[in-house]
Symmetry: C2
Amino acid sequence: MTTRRATITDVAALAGVSVATASKALNGRDDVRATTRQLVIDAAAQLSFQPNVLAQGLLSGQTRTVGLLTSDMVGRFGIPVLLGAENAFGAGEMAVLLCDARGDAIREQHYIRTLLSRRVDGLIVVGESTDPRPSITKDVPVPVVYAYAPSDDPADVSFVPDDEGGARLAVRHLIATGRTRIAHITGPTTYKAATDRAEGVRETLAEAGLEQVGETLSGAWSQRWGRLAADMLLLNDPQIDAVFCGNDQIAAGFIEAARERGRRVPDDIAVVGYDNWEVLSEETRPTLTTIDPDLERLGHTAAQHLFAAIDGKATPGVHSMPTRLVIRDSTAPGIPDTPWQVSRGGSEA
Amino acid sequence: MTTRRATITDVAALAGVSVATASKALNGRDDVRATTRQLVIDAAAQLSFQPNVLAQGLLSGQTRTVGLLTSDMVGRFGIPVLLGAENAFGAGEMAVLLCDARGDAIREQHYIRTLLSRRVDGLIVVGESTDPRPSITKDVPVPVVYAYAPSDDPADVSFVPDDEGGARLAVRHLIATGRTRIAHITGPTTYKAATDRAEGVRETLAEAGLEQVGETLSGAWSQRWGRLAADMLLLNDPQIDAVFCGNDQIAAGFIEAARERGRRVPDDIAVVGYDNWEVLSEETRPTLTTIDPDLERLGHTAAQHLFAAIDGKATPGVHSMPTRLVIRDSTAPGIPDTPWQVSRGGSEA
DNA sequence: GAAATCACCTAAAAGGTTTTCGTAACGTAG
DNA sequence: CTACGTTACGAAAACCTTTTAGGTGATTTC
């Protein structure tokens, strides 16, 4: 809580030059003698001068600020994306204005207006599921990039996790470790994430000439459903030797129930989860092999493409971002087929 | 991606008045005829005019923007605080610039400079633990409010959860439900949160004339430690009828291990957790009675006090924010002493 | 009929920075 | 000594909005 902040006028006065010269000296432009430049720099340091970004932006029309519009920060998936994006912004000299519309379209409109009146250079919209969401690109005079939830307009720039590819990774890993009787438990079919992953399972098994054990079991994304599905599955199809679960919570529930039914994981049944939600995947017993959608990278990439779009180099289309297989103990420890781990999850502090 | 944005000059021209009149008309000031005002408003709507906040800020010296400096967004506690703060900002016409210093002091300094050059009206600093952190208030010409982690300067404005009070709530609840042989398992003593809660336990038991069973067991904040501690406790002090755990993960581990050892929860042993981390507290079997530190409210309150401070009405000191007891099934279902639940946690979507 | 009042509107300045253009000083070539 | 190029600096415009002070015309008052 000190006094008024120094302006470039103050700096110029202290250095005994005009504001124009001071500006040029501070911005490293030519046409200013080295000694004069140093004089100005010293003066600026002495006053701890910092250029007023508002004035700069007013003039240049660029604010070096982007808006980050999230539809529901409470959820688990928005945060890592946001984090990755913020990360990319911080690297440059960009700043990010955060708005959480909390799934409310009215609120979203309000925030869009607010962000525009603040003259953001671009917008990144992060959704809470992989289902397409309404495009806002046409209502907005700046570039927009969609992360996690793609825009429903394929001409927009969207980044989504490759759920189908993730499922492939999981199933291939199970097959590689010698499993052949593989089941799939997942979340509500109303989620594109669930159907995409199921499709990945189907295709990969077909390619390997294997048949999926039972139908894909769809329920909630919860541990409870994982336990329930495990009971059903172990009753109806006791011969299974592996199960790929649509998320880590289902997997955790499955492992718990399977153990109570006397099935050993991974010896009798291998289990793969999805999301690599470490509070769960590292706390199950055994720890959980899972697919990491690498959301932080997704957010980072989305942000970088927003920069590109701001520079006029947009990359339209829906881009699928690769996922990673994180091998832990719930699948075949020490099986010779997979001598090298693709990736091993670190431990939390 | 349209053309140049309209300025108030365009609006004035279209309405056939001067910019001054246009400004007054749009800002609801006097000295403008109703018909003229409507003319201007229509023109503004037609051009979808939005005042340039940069120009407004340049003039008024206020940006209606605050910086939100978080030390580690990856952690669990920063997010709800952030959410509550964002919530409070959105209600007014404030916007929030998000910066994640990721626990790095250098980075933090950098962000502070960035935020200041953007002329934020205030700063809210959210930490990742309840341990005091270095004050930055003196380096900064705008009001600062600390949330979750207090400033080490007691003259600053800080908001922290009342961990001691939370522990009191937990222990009183256990006593009220008829438990008398109560143990406490918690996290590392290097955390103020752990020692504060332990102190709350000690005092409350003393007030009730009860003796704590065994020493407070300090370990990691993990489910693993909860299981381990359960084994130790059940071996050394088999007579316990309740345990208060320093967080929900420890509690989840405890419940798991206790069940494996044949102890029924809550019939034989009641368990209370801390944090109300719903992915855990609602998925344990039985569901977990726990203390909700109400972090979202903490963030909200901090933001509101930042507004007050910006208006010159600062409220110095470290403010303890009350916690809530969330009763679920791990403590005495249907015990007559507590006919009304203080609060019941909702379920996740 | 002149003066005072009123309602409505405009011109201009202010806010901080960057950039363009102008200009002064100086050196060099003719 | 003139003409011109170079170097270093300064004046002023531009960005967009709000506010203050002032101005115009119409109406009222004595």
